[in-house]
Amino acid sequence: MTADTDRPAGRPKLAVWKFASCDGCQLTLLDCEDELLGIADKLQISYFLEASSAPGPGPYDLSLVEGSVTTQQDIERIRHIREVSRRLVTIGACATAGGVQALRNYADVAEFRAAVYARPDYIQTLETSTPISAHVPVDFELRGCPIDRGQLIEVITAYLVGRAPDVPEHSVCFECKRRGTVCVIVAHGTPCLGPVTHAGCGALCPAYGRGCYGCFGPSNSTNFPAFIPLLRRDGMNTLDVVRVLRTYNTAAPEFEAASRKELRG
């Protein structure tokens, strides 16, 4: 990569921020191998600790935010990031729905802390893991655990030309059918969250004969009362149903309501 000073001046400034997360989504940006130079030509990568230990000052034109809010400091930090960002895009299930760490929302955090850490008293954390949108206004949410590389490039490209990103909110079934994958529910009796899950992955799991496990969270049009009986027909009991809904997007409102309803019976 050429030195940043060789690139055109006045490019929009990009910042990448991390909250409670595994780093997988921000690493997706570094995985954009063929496009990375093009991105660096069009955006000044100003703050991205995974890529450079020399952060540049704000304000930033485009902030990509990974991770969920789990500490008091996080709350203060995301407010600051919002203040110094013209456009704020959350990337991934943690930032968009609270991530798998939102399982704490249904448990006693003090008990978790005592079980995991040798010195629990060193750990200061909130009782909940919440999405970025619970704290500051968000301009766009990109789904997935992790996000899809193509969709990330689409969001950045759309930003650069000033158009809306083409990120459909319909079910994974659309992608399965477009890809020509045989439906694993109908033809195999495999439990699959595809009919209630947000598209974006390209229907990856069903293409390999596995049921979708909902890593992109709920689609924009779910009907859980009609859907849950399918999971039961295909062999899931109440605990299985709750577990499949309580993963990376457990705190997404539609998934959470459905899993709570199952537990109430």
Partner: protein, 382 residues
């Protein structure tokens, strides 16, 4: 031509030869083959890839392969895809544009030459479905030239239906199980003590020329009779029957029916029914730009009336409820399609029933709407 030419008979080796002759003519032969627990449509390079000895067990929301003792190649009904996968592909580029160094925009329509397909095993219902899409996509002033190119270049080998599935209702829709026209060659599979063979009828000059290259013989009376009988028997073995009323009128008169709430409570709005439907044709425009902003493309991809974004206008979607979306699909398919295109949009293939994960059955819904209308008119009369 269908009635003018004497019928012929080919054996399994004739079917092998058909594939190799069509391939030799530079065509990509697409036919049924077993993959991932289903009989899918894919490129076939030889007769051994056809689903000999496989049948299917169908029900609403249920599909399983099952072995057949008779070794038949075409004793299966509609699978997970239809021919629109090839004629009206899920994503096609319409044009691209470049911004030159001097700032001038240069646009180019996509002129990829159409593939030269041969479709082997087109069921009568699907032959009608292709005719429906022909009317939609090439009838009227805005004909889709790319579709026409793919369509006109395709060689169609129809296979009459002798083994209807439990979700089939082509007889109700007047589309099968026999074929009358619209094919290049039409086969009828016959398996009895005189062997495993196929009665062949010619439907076009090209069909006649292809047949001339195959090892074939004139049809004997026994094969003619057996073929006719097997297709006639299939008429009585339809798994489903539509209510015997004018469906266009039924749809028009039941727009406010309570039944739409019932089906909406079951519908996942997942879009599967529209994607598997051989006549559903809706698409959306996808604008693609690259990082430089100097290259742009417009693509067209399958869209569905079950998608909230499908009717998104300023202020939100027009059909926000699942009731309105299912009703739109069903009334269009069975009713307003006549107003728009002069025919039914449903050919009775049963795919929407089979591939609906929750097994919503358009035939059952039509019966329920008819019953509700009858009950309402009875009540009004008393």
């Amino acid at each position: 031509m269908p009635d003018g030419t004497p019928h012929s008979v080919i054996d399994k080796d004739g079917l092998d030869a058909l594939i190799s002759v069509l391939t030799g003519h530079g065509r990509t032969v697409i036919g049924p083959t077993v993959r991932d627990g289903a009989i899918v449509l894919a490129e076939v390079c030889g007769g051994d890839e056809l689903p000999y000895g496989w049948g299917v067990e169908l029900e609403a929301g249920h599909y399983r392969l099952k072995r057949r003792e008779d070794g038949a190649a075409f004793a299966h009904s509609a699978g997970p895809q239809s021919w629109k996968t090839f004629l009206h592909p899920q994503r096609v580029r319409e044009w691209s544009a470049e911004r030159r160094a001097d700032g001038e925009l240069v646009m180019a329509e996509d002129d990829t030459p159409p593939p030269s397909y041969a479709f082997l095993g087109v069921r009568p219902c699907d032959l009608r479905a292709i005719a429906v899409q022909d009317r939609v996509l090439t009838g009227g002033p805005y004909a889709d030239r790319a579709y026409r190119g793919r369509r006109e270049g395709a060689f169609l080998v129809a296979v009459e239906c002798t083994e209807p599935g439990a979700t089939c209702f082509c007889v109700s829709m007047g589309t099968g199980p026999a074929v009358d026209d619209g094919y290049d060659l039409a086969l009828t599979e016959v398996i009895d003590d005189q062997g495993h063979r196929f009665l062949v009828r010619v439907g076009s000059a090209e069909g006649e020329a292809v047949l001339a290259e195959l090892p074939c013989r004139f049809a004997d009376a026994a094969t003619e009779t057996a073929a006719r009988e097997r297709v006639a028997e299939a008429v009585g073995r339809m798994g489903r029957t539509m209510p015997p009323v004018d469906l266009q009128v039924l749809m028009r008169e039941t727009l406010q029916a309570e039944r739409w709430n019932d089906v909406a409570a079951r519908c996942l709005t997942c879009g599967n029914c529209t994607m598997v439907c051989p006549t559903c044709f809706c698409t959306t425009a996808e604008e693609v730009t690259d990082l430089t902003g100097d290259h742009a493309e417009r693509w067209r991809r399958w869209e569905s009336c079950f998608d909230l974004e499908f009717t998104h206008l300023q202020g939100g979607p027009v059909r926000a409820s699942s009731r309105s979306r299912y009703r739109q699909w069903c009334t269009h398919k069975l009713g307003t399609w006549y107003d728009q295109f002069g025919s039914s949009g449903c050919v009775g293939c049963g795919r929407c029933i089979v591939w609906c994960p929750v097994g919503i059955d358009i035939v059952e819904e039509a019966h329920a709407l008819n019953d509700e209308r009858a009950a309402a008119s009875e009540q009004a009369a008393s």
